[in-house]
């Protein structure tokens, strides 16, 4: 295949679309927690990994189809988010220093990092560090010369639907309005009567739940291990750096862009380049936007 063949193949476009939609879903949850609390959840990808394990055990031990298990696993993810919020972060956020303080942000990052290490290694202790995979919906369909497996189609549909559902919820519901108010100006939202604590709690639940859902979808597509969560965190960060805060459409586009960069980059070089590409894009994005995400809004903090 020549380079042009590679670039024009519908197969790659489809692969990029699937990857992009999963990244969009992952970034959505990350964005919600970051937006409302200014905390970078580096353990987000590990929740994705836990979701993958949930689907895997449900399928291999109990014969539950992953697509049916998905709501349950997402609910469990949300429960984990709720527990962590009540146990650790609620107290931190209501402390005197308030969100938006650099020291608090660095500290919360170290907390999440500790959590990430615990989740990865505890999972490896309990379930062994081996790679896992299972076969599900692997019938191949052909659409206009592009071969698509059922599981990839399902992942694309579910991730796309979930993204749109969350986006509509955030733009139409009262909770969505409150969330956007907290994202814009936390203090002002509090003054006009928004229940900031409630918004934060629900953001945690929604964020963790959507991560677990993404994990279920990812488990259907290929191998995963206790340590495969972190790259998803990085991918999510790239998307929210490029896409913007609370801007769902731009986030979606950024996720698709990252999916394209990764899929085409790997196709043009080698599979070994995936991590280099991912971390390269991450470093480049952060260096281009050194004030972190959305420098324009930083003044309001």
């Amino acid at each position: 295949m020549t380079v042009l063949d590679i670039l024009l193949s519908g197969q790659l476009l489809f692969a990029a679309l699937v990857t992009g939609s999963l990244y969009a879903l992952i970034a959505l949850g990350l964005n919600l927690v970051y937006g409302t609390m200014r905390m970078l959840n580096v353990a987000h990808g590990d929740v994705v990994m836990l979701g993958a394990y949930g689907a895997y055990w449900g399928f291999t031990l109990l014969d539950i189809p992953p697509l049916l298990a998905a709501p349950v696993v997402a609910g469990l993810g949300g429960l984990l988010g709720w527990a962590l919020y009540r146990g650790i972060f609620q107290r931190m956020l209501s402390g005197g220093s308030g969100a938006g303080n650099n020291r608090l942000e660095s500290n919360s990052l170290l907390l999440f990092f500790g959590l990430s290490i615990i989740l990865q290694n505890a999972t490896a202790l309990v379930f062994t560090p081996n790679n896992r995979a299972y076969n599900y919906l692997d019938t191949v369909y052909h659409f206009g010369g592009v071969a698509m497996t059922g599981n990839r189609l399902a992942a694309l549909l579910v991730a796309g639907t979930a993204c749109i559902a969350v986006a509509v919820f955030l733009s139409r519901s009262v909770f969505g309005l409150a969330t956007r108010a907290v994202i814009e100006r936390r203090e002002a939202a509090h003054i006009v009567g928004v229940d900031v604590d409630y918004v934060q709690r629900l953001s945690f639940i929604l964020g963790f739940g959507s991560a677990a859902l993404a994990g279920v979808l990812i488990s259907m597509l290929g191998q995963f291990s206790p340590f495969s969560g972190f790259p998803f965190t990085i991918a999510g960060f790239i998307v929210i750096i490029l896409g913007g805060l609370g801007n769902t459409m731009a986030g979606l586009l950024a996720a698709l862009l990252l999916g394209v960069i990764e899929t085409y980059g790997v196709a043009l070089t080698s599979a070994n380049m995936r991590s280099v590409l991912l971390y390269g894009a991450f470093v480049a994005a952060l260096l281009l936007f050194p004030n972190g995400l959305f420098a324009g809004r930083a003044k309001s903090r």
């Binding site: 990092f113 500790g114 290490i117 290694n121 960060f237 971390y279 470093v283 260096l287 972190g292």
Partner: protein, 315 residues
Amino acid sequence: MKDLFPNRWWTLLWACCLLALAVLPFVANAYVVGIGLTVLMWIALTQSWCVLSKMTGYVSLGHVVFYGIGAYLVVVTWQEVPLPLAIVGAGLLAALVAALVGLPVLRVRGPYFVILTFGLAELVKYTITWIESASGMASRILFGAPDLPVIYFSMFALALLSVAMLTWVSSSRFGHGLRSLRENEEAAETLGVPVVRYKLIAFVLGAAIPGMVGAIMALRSTYFVVGQVFDPMISVTVIAMAILGGGDNARGPLLGVIFLSLLSELLWVNAPLLYLVILGAILMVFVLVVPNGLLGLFERKPVPVVERPPTDSAA
């Protein structure tokens, strides 16, 4: 010096540690000397990390990158360049890398700096992995590395150097400048602290020592795997040690090293997963409950202030 030796008990503690580490290679077997070497390595890494990260609050999760670069230089130039030159070169190369990436990287603030340093270290790791596999090198073995005592005392010198450096920085005008930018960078800049230059100098100073440490540890393991010398868990252990110890002088991090070295020695090789779970838990507990570290616990009760000339306490 008062930072390191606030009273005679601390002086006694450090004197005992110093003496024990200095005579260790003459009295103990190779296994115990190996443990001593690991302790010295953690001292050098943690103290050098503190120069930027404890003093300015710019928490770097990428300290291992300098260690890895140093190790890689020694491995690549093995038997082509005299060893002492390669080790010094490793320190210089690490410092040079820090100087080159320092300006753009240090513009990034708070949590973004933390996660950026992690990403940068991983990027270097994967790039070198890719280069090595492209050139057909899965791993390398070093033949004819120096004996353990030589390695041990080189590391001993580096550990002393790192403690001396942090002690100097912590009490110098430069160090006070760094502390001021930790408290409020804008205010410090307004008051005339050259924040950009200070941050960069601290970053470069803190990079040279891990470069040389990595070079020496490559001689110790003699077997080189990219993923091992760029293991992000080295950075995490350094942070855990510094946070566990607490304080922004040389004393706290030394305490952290003493407490965690034992744990890492016992568990890292035999039960790495369990070790990392414990490390993560320590990180969370200390950030959340004991943000001032062990030093803060020991010195929590305010000593009654008695008005008298300061010469009395300079034991």
